[in-house]
């Protein structure tokens, strides 16, 4: 008997007991819909964490200068400038896994508009910085290398600063703000980035060309960078390699002997990100485990009903054997019935799960991510459950003695 005919016979048999078949699939439906909904929501949460870290910067490393020691008191990283402009250029040109690098100099300063003032952080950097942090302009255009070369007095302001100085609906482009009494023309408003994981407002800053920063806001240190270097690696998997390569390069350039400590430090932000993701992954795994248990329960339900069905249809099995069904035909028939039950449950579960995730997402404002591969895995897995739990009843049916079966009342 062909598989298609077997399938038809199986579906016919299931259709004879519609309510029972439906109730049997319910276990699978609940299990699969739980998996689908959980994974969609879990992935949504993960995507949100990823987005938060992408806002921080893509595949970002920060190189901080070393520590100062005065009278035995060690000052923490960044207190003593050890990174030179040549180091920066070396990182930019000599490390293959580095996509871009930019020095960042910071100062806190009061910024004045015509009638308002706001104390914020002033960042002096080069145009690569915007690339490293994935930070486009919302309005206007960002300053360029020409601005850095010419030391022009232009400023890109964060959204928070724009709101404080000009009000929420004004257009700050072309306006003049004063920083340390130096007039700057606002040429762009940066896109809103929101808060960091720790509540720091990314949008509360103004950015000026690094040359202008050194000339007008805070004098430089000649050869040394009085700040840190932001680096973006070529890809998420390249950050660890970039870290090692930069460390090697800087130790070489600073002529550090083996065994001595680094006179700088490198922070790998993607490591923090992956720690965060670890948390969501644990949650997803936990939910998946619960879902797996409910699938197991669904499978047991199928086995139970298949056993009942085999007993109920003993005469039918006997008859089929008498007219020429081989044990294999009977085995296949019941196996296909269990499979059909499980897969039907799986498919209904997928639909319910997607709908449920969507419903939760809209009512709680969560983010959900629909993954077709998970849908496929869920359907295949429910099929596997059907076969696994259908095997015993089907085997039992195929081993019936036709004579006994025909006499069964």
């Amino acid at each position: 008997m062909s598989f298609l005919q077997t399938l038809r016979v199986a579906v016919r048999a299931l259709a004879r007991n519609k309510l029972r078949s439906f109730l049997t699939t319910l276990g699978m439906v609940i299990g699969v819909s739980a998996v689908i909904a959980m994974v969609a929501i879990g992935d949504g949460a993960k995507a949100r964490v990823e987005a938060a870290f992408a806002a921080m910067g893509s595949n970002m490393l920060i190189v901080l200068p070393g520590t100062s020691t005065s009278g035995g008191a060690m000052g923490g990283f960044g207190t003593m400038p050890t990174l030179t402009w040549d180091d920066l250029r070396a990182i930019q040109t000599e490390v293959a896994t580095v996509r871009a690098a930019a020095a960042q100099l910071r100062a806190s300063a009061q910024v004045l508009s015509e009638d308002q003032n706001w104390t914020t952080s002033v960042l002096g950097t080069s145009p690569e910085y915007f690339q490293i942090r994935n930070w486009p302009a919302d309005r206007g255009s960002l300053f360029t290398q020409a601005d850095v070369d010419g030391g022009t007095k232009v400023v890109a302001i964060g959204q928070t600063v724009a709101d404080k100085l000009f009000g929420p609906n004004a257009n700050p482009l072309g306006q003049v703000v004063r920083v340390k009494n130096v007039p700057f023309v606002v040429t762009s408003v940066l896109a809103k980035k929101g808060q960091s994981q720790w509540g720091q407002d990314y949008d509360d800053l103004v950015v000026v060309p690094i040359s202008t920063f050194q000339q007008k806001i805070q004098g430089g240190l000649k050869n040394y960078i009085a700040g840190s270097i932001a680096v973006s690696a070529t890809g998420p998997e390249a950050t660890a390699r970039a870290e090692t390569q930069i460390r090697g390069l800087l130790r070489d350039r600073h002529r550090l002997q083996q065994g001595t400590d680094d006179d700088f430090s490198i922070r790998n932000l993607s490591e923090i990100a992956s720690a965060q993701q670890e948390g969501t992954r644990t949650l997803t795994t936990l939910l998946a485990a619960i879902a797996a248990v409910s699938l197991l329960v669904g499978g047991i339900g199928i086995m139970n009903i298949m056993l009942v069905s085999v007993t109920e249809r003993t005469r039918e099995i006997g008859l089929r054997m008498a007219v020429g069904a081989k044990p294999g035909d009977i085995l296949l028939q019941f196996l296909v019935e269990a499979l059909a039950l499980a897969v039907a449950g799986g498919l209904i579960g997928v639909c319910l799960g997607l709908a449920g995730a969507w419903r939760l997402a809209t009512s709680f404002g969560w983010e959900v991510l629909y993954r077709p591969d998970i849908v496929l895995v869920a359907v295949i897995f429910s099929g596997v459950v059907g076969v696994a739990f259908g095997l015993y009843p089907a085997h039992k049916a195929s081993r019936l003695d036709p004579i006994q079966a025909l006499r069964f009342e």
Binding site: M1, S2, R12, A322, K326, I403
Partner: protein, 250 residues
């Protein structure tokens, strides 16, 4: 086929072991049935007639002895091979019809062809033809619960016929039927015998056995008597309800 018997049992023994008790269901039965013969097997319950039927029907294997069906030894075949032999060579008719409920007559009749791997169109054609042969051409899409006992049994006979078997085995086919429909069913069997199909009938009703051309009586697992007779002619499915000889006291 010449003179070679279609069914040939040679000293067939069947012993069941139930716990530590041995039940001797058949104690050496030898029997030959020619093609086209209409044989009735009679005997009290426990005489071994059902066991004999199961062995002849290839549902069971003898403990010892040989069974040649259409010249081929089948007593030692595997379960799968026996299923094939049943499918090709034997048609079954049961006392309780054993039709699939909620399944129309056509599909019930198609069942053996399904396991023979016959294609859909051919299955429909042959099943329709078989139903026509038993006079149910107009009941093709009726379900068993929409038919009388006699009609249901005729569907079962059509199912037995559809694979064009050499032998039809009928186990108390009239046990659940009234006397008039019983005669109709017997008429059908006689008709099949004339068409060259071998019919083996198990019954405990002497009235029914009258319609056979040969009566084998079993007792204690052995053949007690084996007589050929001039069969009583069953009148073909009669339109008039009266005038049919009433059989038995039922």
């Amino acid at each position: 086929m010449g003179t070679a018997p279609l069914i040939e049992l040679l000293d067939v023994v069947k012993t069941y072991v139930m716990g530590d008790v041995e039940v001797h269901a058949l104690r050496g039965v030898s029997l030959s049935v020619q093609q086209g013969e209409f044989t009735a097997i009679m005997g009290a319950s426990g005489s071994g007639k059902s066991t004999l039927m199961n062995i002849v029907g290839c549902l069971d294997r003898p403990t010892s002895g040989r069974y040649l069906l259409d010249g081929a030894e089948v007593s030692r075949l595997s379960t799968e091979k026996l299923a094939e032999v049943r499918n090709r060579t034997i048609g079954f008719v049961f006392q309780s019809f054993n039709l699939l409920s909620r399944t129309d007559a056509l599909e019930n009749v198609e069942l053996p062809l399904l396991y023979a791997g016959v294609g859909t169109a051919e299955r429909h054609r042959r099943a329709t033809e078989a139903l026509g042969r038993v006079g149910l051409a107009d009941r093709v899409h009726h379900h068993p619960n929409q038919m009388s006992g006699g009609q249901q049994q005729r569907v079962a006979i059509a199912r037995a016929l559809v694979s064009q078997p050499r032998v039809i085995l009928a186990d108390e086919p009239t046990g659940n039927l009234d006397s008039q429909t019983s005669v109709e069913v017997m008429a059908l069997f006689q008709q099949l015998g004339r068409a060259g199909i071998t019919v083996v009938l198990v019954t405990h009703e002497p009235d029914i056995a009258q319609y056979a051309s040969r009566v084998v009586v079993m007792r204690d697992g052995k053949v007690l008597s084996d007589t050929r007779q001039e069969p009583r002619v069953a009148r073909a499915p009669a339109p008039e309800p009266a005038g049919i000889p009433a059989g038995g006291g039922r």
